[in-house]
Each structure stands twice: as structure tokens, then as C-alpha cells.
Amino acid sequence: MPHPDRPLINDAVRKAKNQLFLVVCLLASSLVLVVLVFMLTTLVRQGGGHISWRFLTSYHHDDNPAASGILPAMAGSLVVCLICAAAAIPVGIGTAILMEEFRPKNRTVNWLHQLVQLNVNNLAGVPSIVYGILGVTAFVYMFNLFGVIEANKTPQFEMGARRYYQVRTIAKEYVWIPVQDKNERTIRIEQPCRALTVQGEPLELQVIERGAPPPSDPADLARTVYRGSVASIFNQHRFFYAHLPFGTSVLSAGLTLALVILPIVVISTQEAIRAVPGTLREAAFGLGTTRWQMVRTVVLPAALPGIMTGTILAMGRAIGEAAPLLAVMRGVISNSAAPANLMENSATLPVLIYGWAQDENKGFHDLSAAAILVLLVLLLLMNATAIFIRYRTEHNTRN
């Protein structure tokens, strides 16, 4: 028993070191707090006064900060994030289920499996601008596999578009004639034909000679044109309108962001799945489930809160990303309305903030701060939802 013979370490010194460590930790954490408070006060002082109903509901006016607002950017961010979620969540969760629950027995396949895992882990650390460049080649141009989109040319591969020739009747009302050959941009009307009113009601278009007396009935006037009238093509794009390649559009942007957050979704889902006790899997297998039935009825319900929390945090990352959007959507900030279909380009909050912050007109700098405040509030709401879900499930499992 050598211990009693040895000198004791000085207790006072040990305690002093303990105190010193505590002080260092406190300083470090208060530094974080100071930065946050400084940032918030600066933002509120600079931008707080600019947040108004008008600010939230109007769009960017060049050289007129007083009239500018963030509505299209908010709508753009929302649409981009929805597309991002729709793409990243199923793919991410599917990948995570494969990685965790379908580990192959075969050695070669298992090697591939581990390669995918290594990739997922590494992709989580890739800078987002790199994803932006990838998005430009893979989504905006699609490696030029489908040709190049030119102005005033109909894309070769498309969906969700209706085309009409538009012509004015003698009553000065527009009617629409369905298009047969979409490469014919204008037609001359020589024969009576089927057409639609602007409201979409069908009608039979009548043709009379130029100079002939017009029909007396106003209802007939509304469906009569002079022979040789010129009708020009008119595109009606539905909200899911899309063509190949995707071009600079909210769809390209959403898919690019999906790539950015995909590794995060995969990893957080994997963690949630790993947290499900193995005894539950045994119980399900013991009752004769197939692997998929086990996953669907036992693992996914138990892991769902964790998956949701991770996914919401990933969406928080997506809504704040500027770099990939600058690359994919070319930093557009001036659209005056929300994007009407998948192929439209739009401002988003981070890009608008970036654009305003470097505008020559100093008036926009304050607006930039105000937009940051709005973005922060959105982020805070999303994170609060995530925390709430976590809290509620912890509460539920304890009972």
C-alpha cells in the first residue's frame, strides 16, 4: 500500500484550476452571446423601422427603396423550399432506410454500401457554391443533352403548356384557337373554325369578307372575324409547366438546394433510425414480418419525430442558402410577382438580401437589414417547430 506515504496534491491549487476553467468557459460562451446581441441590435436599429405591411407586400423597384418590398422574394423562397423538400425528403429518407435497414450480406455489395455511406458523409461538408455550379450544369443546362433554350422558340421537351392563337373579333374581344403545329407562330384565318372564349367556353368562329356588313346581333359580332385576320401564338403555362433543360428557374434552384441538404437529411434520418431499439425489430421479425413491413410498421413510426426534427433543421439550412441560388438563378431580384410556374425565375430572400446589400443606392442597405430580420423570424419559427416536436415526443415516451 504505497499511497499513504506519498505527498498529497495541493487541494487549493486543484480548486483554483477548476475555477479558472469555469471562468474560461463562461467567457467563451458569453462571447457567443455578445456577437449575437451585437448583430441583432445592429439589424434592428438599421432595418427594424422599415418593416411595414407595405414592405411585406410590395416588390423590388429599381432606384426606389421607399416603394420596394419582399413579397416575390418570400414567395420565391417558399416555392424553392417546397420543391427542395419534395425532392430531398423522399430521396433522403429512402437512402437512410437502405443504409440502416438493408445492409447486404454479400461482401462486394457491402463494399458499395460503405462507399455510399462514405460519400454521404463527405457530401455533407462540400461548400454550397460547389453544389451551385453542379446545379448549373446538371439542371440549368442538363449537360446540353436536350439542346439549348432560345427566346421565342418552343422547347422540344415540355409539359403543362397549352397554346392558342389569339385573335380579336369584330366586337374587339379576344378568342383563342387551339394550336395544331406549335412551330407555326402566326396564322391567317380563312375558314370558320372552333375556338374558345377567354373564359374557356367553346364557340364556332365565323368568317366574313372584309367590307361585308357585320352581323347585327352583338352575340354574333363576338364570334365573327374578317377573312385574313392574323392570329398569333399565345402560351398558357400551368403551374407545373416544365421543359428540358430546366433553365434558370425555381425548379432548378429547388433541386440544387435539395442536393445541398440531402446529406443532412440522410444523416439525421440514419441517426433517428439507429435510435430505435433493436428489440423492437426482433419483435417484428419474430412475428413474421418481411423487412419492409418491419420498417414501415415499427421503425418508421418510432423514428418519425427524429426524422421530422432533422428534416426541419435541414430546411432551415435550405431557406438561408444564397450561394447556390446566386449561381443557378443568376441573382435575379426584380420580378414583381410570385413565380407562376416551375420554369419561372424568381427572387428569393437570401438573394434579395445579397442584392440589396451591395446596391449602389444606400437606401437599399437598410431594407437589406429589414429583410434579414424577416428571414431570421422565419428560421426561428422553423427551429421552434423542430424543438416543439422533440419536446412533445420526449414527453410522450416518458408517460
Binding site: 450480406k105 425489430r281 426482433e282 419483435a283 421479425f285 413474421g288 414480418t289 410498421t297 415516451t397
Partner: protein
């Protein structure tokens, strides 16, 4: 899915309107397995099993009699749980686990590549060491298996749930809170729920891997009573570390040591007149 699966569904449809229990009985008939008719329910012949290079089971020959309780005893790591888990091929999830020799469940070759594990596990229920109810309601726990395997009406499912819970001696305690979470039950109740869940699909064999090791003495006594009653209908194979438990509830006992069967026979004989010194030392507590 294979042919007998289709036949199963067909029978289940014919039986709409009958109770859920008769649906299960009919399903059994469709599988050509008269319950309790075969005297030897599970038969190991020259059975060996490995985890990778480690041989966990060596040359086991063992017959388990239908409608009897067979207990596996032996020190930790002697392979008794491994042997149990081969009966319903639970070892399939472990990539490096493999086995050789013959293992028959009734007429079915369990180890055959063509054996459908899902169908096999419908015939072999399992209860685990730690109670592992799903984080669902009591009702959904018991209804899980029947819903998985049989096309049943809601009232049939309700019948089966009540029957299984009565059989597991749990009905009277929980009939007023069937739709509350199973995690709210005590450990002993949870284990009886797991037994109810296992018998709700109408298995022939029930495997129990130390079913009482996580329970207090009172709950253990209730489970033991239950096992005693359940053997009327099921062939029960249980692993236990508790010598008294093996003596109390089992009809046959097999003593394992280092992957081999040292001695097996009726529980009465093995405990009162062991043929081998090693067995005697173990059952009297001199080693183990």
C-alpha cells in the same frame, strides 16, 4: 408469394363471418399442420451452427415433444439461445451465422433455402428476454400479427385480441384500457402482452428466451403458471438460467455445455437422477 400463401388467403376469405379464431384454425388446416398431432414438434439431427469461424453448436441431436415444455439450461455462452433462435431462423439477420445438419419443424425442413421464413415464423412464435412491446396501444400490439398474416374483419381481429389476452391471463387487468400505450404496463404485464402477441397468430411452437429474467418474483410466478397452461395448446421451448424454474415448469430438459448437449431427458430424471457428474454439479449449483 408461394402457393400455400394463396391458399391461405382463400381460406381466410371463405371464413369471413366466422370468428377470427376459426380463421386461424382453418389457415392451419390449409398448411396441412394438424395442431398437436405430430408427436415430435421440433427435431434436431446432427445439428451444428457457427458464427463466422466460431462453432456455437456441436452435433446436437434433440427431439422436442409436442404439447410439452422443453427447457434449455446451461451456463452463459453455451449455445442454448443460439439453438432456440435457429428454430424460427431469427439468426438470419446475423450475416455470419450459418448452420448444418437437419432441423425439422413437423414435416418442414427449417434450414432449406426454399423455406419461407415469413410462413415459418407464423408457425413459431417467440418471446424475448426483455419485454419488447411496440410503442403502440395494447390492442394494436396484439392485433399486429393477425393483421399481418390474415385477411380479417375488424370484429374478427377484436375477437382474437380478446382471446389472446385472456389466454395470456392479462384480459381482466387491461380490458378497460386496451387503447392506451403498452409502455404504460408493468414489466410483468408487458411480458404477458408479448406472449399474447405471439400466440395471437396461432403458432404451433412458442420459443421463450429467458422470459422471466427481467421480472420480479411475483411476475415470474404468473408467467410460469401461464407457461404451464399454454402447453395444452403449444409446444413450448424455453431457455432459462433459473434451475428451479426449469424444474417447476418443464417436462423435458436439455443441459448444454460449450455448444454440446451434456444430457437430456425428462426434467424429473435429469434433476433427481442425473446420469452425468457434470449435470449433477450444475443442477445442484456446484458450478455454473
Amino acid at each position: 408469394m408461394n402457393g400455400d400463401e394463396e391458399a391461405l388467403e382463400a381460406t381466410a376469405e371463405v371464413n369471413v363471418g366466422l370468428s377470427g379464431l376459426s380463421a386461424i384454425a382453418a389457415a392451419r388446416a390449409a398448411e396441412n399442420v394438424p395442431a398437436g398431432a405430430a408427436r415430435i414438434a421440433v427435431n434436431f439431427e446432427d445439428f451444428n451452427a457457427w458464427y463466422g469461424d466460431f462453432q456455437a453448436i456441436r452435433q446436437v441431436n434433440l427431439k422436442m415433444h409436442a404439447n410439452n415444455v422443453t427447457a434449455f439450461i446451461g451456463p452463459s455462452g453455451c449455445g442454448k439461445s443460439t439453438l432456440l433462435k435457429w428454430v424460427n431462423r431469427m439468426n438470419d439477420v446475423i450475416p455470419e451465422a450459418r448452420a448444418s445438419g437437419k432441423l425439422r419443424l413437423g414435416e418442414t425442413d427449417v434450414l432449406a433455402r426454399t423455406t419461407d421464413v415469413v410462413a415459418l415464423r407464423r408457425r413459431v412464435g417467440m418471446v424475448f428476454q426483455k419485454p419488447n412491446p411496440f410503442p403502440k396501444s395494447l390492442y394494436d400490439n396484439v392485433a399486429y400479427g393477425p393483421r399481418l398474416h390474415f385477411r380479417m374483419s375488424k370484429s374478427d381481429v377484436a375477437d382474437v385480441v380478446e382471446w389472446a389476452l385472456r389466454k395470456a391471463a392479462l384480459w381482466d387487468e387491461v380490458k378497460d384500457r386496451l387503447h392506451s400505450s403498452a409502455l404504460g404496463l408493468s414489466g410483468g404485464q408487458q411480458q404477458r402482452l408479448c406472449i399474447a402477441r405471439a400466440i395471437a397468430i396461432g403458432p404451433e411452437v412458442l420459443l421463450m428466451d429467458e422470459p422471466c429474467s427481467a421480472l420480479d418474483p411475483a411476475s415470474t410466478a404468473r408467467i410460469e403458471d401461464l407457461i404451464f397452461e399454454l402447453r395444452e395448446q403449444y409446444t413450448i421451448v424455453m431457455v432459462t438460467h433459473n434451475m428451479q424454474q426449469a424444474a417447476r415448469v418443464s417436462d423435458y430438459t436439455a443441459f448444454f455445455y460449450e455448444g454440446k448437449i451434456v444430457e437430456d431427458g425428462t426434467t424429473n430424471e435429469l434433476f433427481t437422477r442425473p446420469r452425468r457428474k457434470q449435470t449433477e454439479d450444475y443442477v445442484t449449483g456446484k458450478f455454473g
